[in-house]
């Protein structure tokens, strides 16, 4: 580009050297401030295509040509859409009874070989709307076999926006759901932990704030309630539960004051071998904030979470994992990669192989948080990063075998305190995280909150479907089955 200051053009109506001097005037600083502060001193163009620079100058004649071309293309596209609408299988939608079981073929996987997920239906009409929320109510899904799933959600009720948990169950692969009649009202419940299709348990918080342990041995038709671990006030603590049998369960909990910015809270593992009649409490490292616990077999347990940040350094978010070889009586600190962030989405295929998602703020601030997969093959003693991971924030993980994992990803620009705006996705690996394939979500559904795969060939996911405005409803997605 030629230097205009030396480019003497007598015909130029502008004296560029003079202009250079003028442009140093403070009035241009005023203009700068007006622009960056958004002062209404300028008449701005409306947002729209007129603002976008069109680098290619188009003459009127070429515009006419383009117009004809656009009309021709639009006509072709409309014809193609019409043909597609007539010939393609009709996409069925959920019926008006909210228990729709109509399924439609999911979109083909982006990579061709990736199996498609399909929409099964609403999980329950009783809590299908979620004012002002997307995922923040904590949808969870537990599917112990190919037909049985338990779902937990919270419905906002009343002027004070009280969150009332609901526990739903299906025994026909999501075709029909019923809300389980719990023996007492609970204000907070953990995800359902199952040791079999019929045998499941949960920890809840009664009206007095005390923990209650509920267990079913008949697929949720009836529940027995016993007092939860003494001292465990669920109102103040996040509880994760894992059961290996009707008698043996392990729960981990921490004080909510253990948040990053606050003082450390107590972190405790509770174990029972008599269906909750008695509980043994084991102190875990006080800086450990557990996000998940899984026990497999008679002895192996793994707990993952993060290390509480030192006071004054809330941004320090290292991951942390513990393992137990005696059914949760004693715990040891696992070896993690030094870069591991908070661990969530714990899933164990057997008593050796487990996977978890390590999340950390992305270096690119636009993407918020990204996750990577960590795997262990020695019962949780040492964890190593998988070769690759979906470039999304993994909200849930389910690994039906040592090599196969399904992960639900979420655009991390959607925070939990906001409505879910963007489409999430489901990712699949069959080689221990070396490669991943993305399956698109069925049309109309958004971020997946939880995934549960009872086998390598059958998986379910609980997701939110955008209704209108800030209203969402929980839907069940399925693959295989």
């Amino acid at each position: 580009m030629t230097d205009i200051s030396e480019h003497s053009v007598a015909s130029d109506p502008v004296s560029y050297p003079e202009l250079l001097k003028l442009c140093s005037d403070p009035v241009f600083d005023e203009l700068f401030q007006a622009i960056v502060t958004g002062d209404d001193v300028l008449q701005s163009l409306p947002e729209g295509r007129d603002e976008r620079p069109e680098l290619v100058a188009v003459s009127p004649a070429r515009w006419a040509h383009r117009r004809r071309l656009i009309i021709a293309l639009a006509s072709s596209a409309a014809a193609a859409l019409l043909i597609a609408a007539v010939t393609a299988p009709s996409l069925q939608t959920l019926d008006r009874n909210h228990h729709a079981v109509a399924t439609h073929g999911g979109q083909p996987g982006l990579q061709g070989a990736t199996p498609a997920w399909h929409l099964v239906g609403y999980i329950s009409p009783s809590w299908r709307t979620h004012p002002s929320a997307g995922l923040q109510f904590g949808l969870s899904l537990t599917c112990p076999d190919a037909n049985t799933c338990y779902a937990v959600d919270f419905q906002v009720q009343g002027y004070q926006q009280a969150r009332v948990p609901g526990v739903e169950v299906t025994d026909d692969g999501g075709g029909s759901w019923w809300q389980m009649a719990l023996p007492l009202p609970l204000s907070v419940v953990s995800p359902v932990a199952c040791s079999g299709a019929e045998t499941c348990a949960l920890l809840g918080d009664d009206s007095a704030g005390k923990a209650e342990f509920l267990e079913t041995a008949d697929g949720g038709r009836s529940w027995a309630a016993t007092a939860g671990p003494p001292g465990l006030t669920s109102q103040e603590q996040l509880v994760q539960l894992s059961c290996v049998s009707e008698a043996s369960c392990v729960a981990v909990a921490y004080g909510r004051t253990g948040r990053a910015a606050g003082p450390a809270g107590a972190t405790i593992a509770y174990s029972t071998n008599d269906s909750g009649s008695t509980w043994t409490a084991t102190n875990l490292p006080p800086d450990f904030v557990p996000f998940g616990v899984k026990c497999v077999g008679s002895s192996m347990c793994v707990a993952v979470g993060r290390l509480n940040s030192p006071a004054g350094s809330p941004g320090n978010l290292p991951g942390m994992a513990l393992y137990s070889a005696d059914g949760g009586s004693t715990w040891n600190t696992a070896s993690l990669p030094p870069t591991a962030g908070p661990l969530t989405g714990l899933s164990c295929a057997n008593d050796s192989d487990c996977s978890a998602s390590s999340s950390a703020p992305a270096s690119d601030s636009k993407t918020g948080i990204t996750s990577s997969l960590l795997i262990t093959a020695d019962g949780g003693q040492s964890w190593t990063p998988a070769r690759s991971s979906p470039r999304q924030f993994i909200t849930a993980l389910s690994c039906p075998s040592a090599s196969q994992c399904w992960a639900s990803g979420l655009d991390s620009s959607d925070g939990p305190g906001q409505s879910v705006r963007s489409e999430g996705g489901i990712w699949f690996t069959s080689d221990r995280g070396s490669t991943w394939q993305q399956s698109p979500l069925p049309e109309g559904t958004r971020a997946v909150a939880d995934i549960s795969c009872p086998s390598a060939s059958t998986c379910y996911a609980i997701a939110v479907e955008h209704a209108r405005g800030d209203l969402y409803r929980a839907v069940l997605l399925a693959y295989g089955g």
């Binding site: 007598a10 015909s11 202009l19 442009c23 701005s44 163009l45 998940g292 978010l317 924030f393």
Partner: protein, 214 residues
Amino acid sequence: VPYCDIYRDVAERRAGKPEDEGQQRQERFRAVYEAVRPRLAAYALRRTSSPEDAADVAAETFAIAWRRLDDVPEGDDSVLWFYATARRVLANHYRRARRHSELVRRIGSHLNAALVTEEAVDAERVAALAALRLLDDDDRELLLLATWEGLGSAELSRLLNCSSTAVRLRLHRARARLAREMETLGLAEKQTQTSRQLLLHAPAPANEAEGQRS
């Protein structure tokens, strides 16, 4: 829900981030604003009928750049983006009757001093510019970009999204049409300084322009 906790923690971690990002964004805009300001002001002055209109066009173009800062290219190409955007703003400018804001009026009165005074305007020049106005918009803009904005063929080819060869061809044709218009106006024999520049000024070759940038 565990991942909600992570979100909260990250939000805490990034409590100061938006401010930092805002600062970085402002600094980048400041750099572009400083670098492009005289060129954009000149571009607007050359294509509007009053300094106030020019100030208005420049201010609007900068306001768009601020809103779409991510779209503004880095380096010398940013000037091309501003020229392209200003052209769109100009196209809209004359469709709307508008009152200039007080700030724009002050900027306009400032820019007025950069316009060549009437004493310096000779009749031949006026006539040559009249011939220029007889050209269609594309020809006229191409000639002005090459002559007054001093764009080389490389810049013109990027701006117009065509090859340097095509740029030269279009310039050649535009000059030929200008020559015909001047002939129509009886200026062919006079070959005023203005017309000579418009007719003969060739854009800098691509390699030359690249060399000057470096």
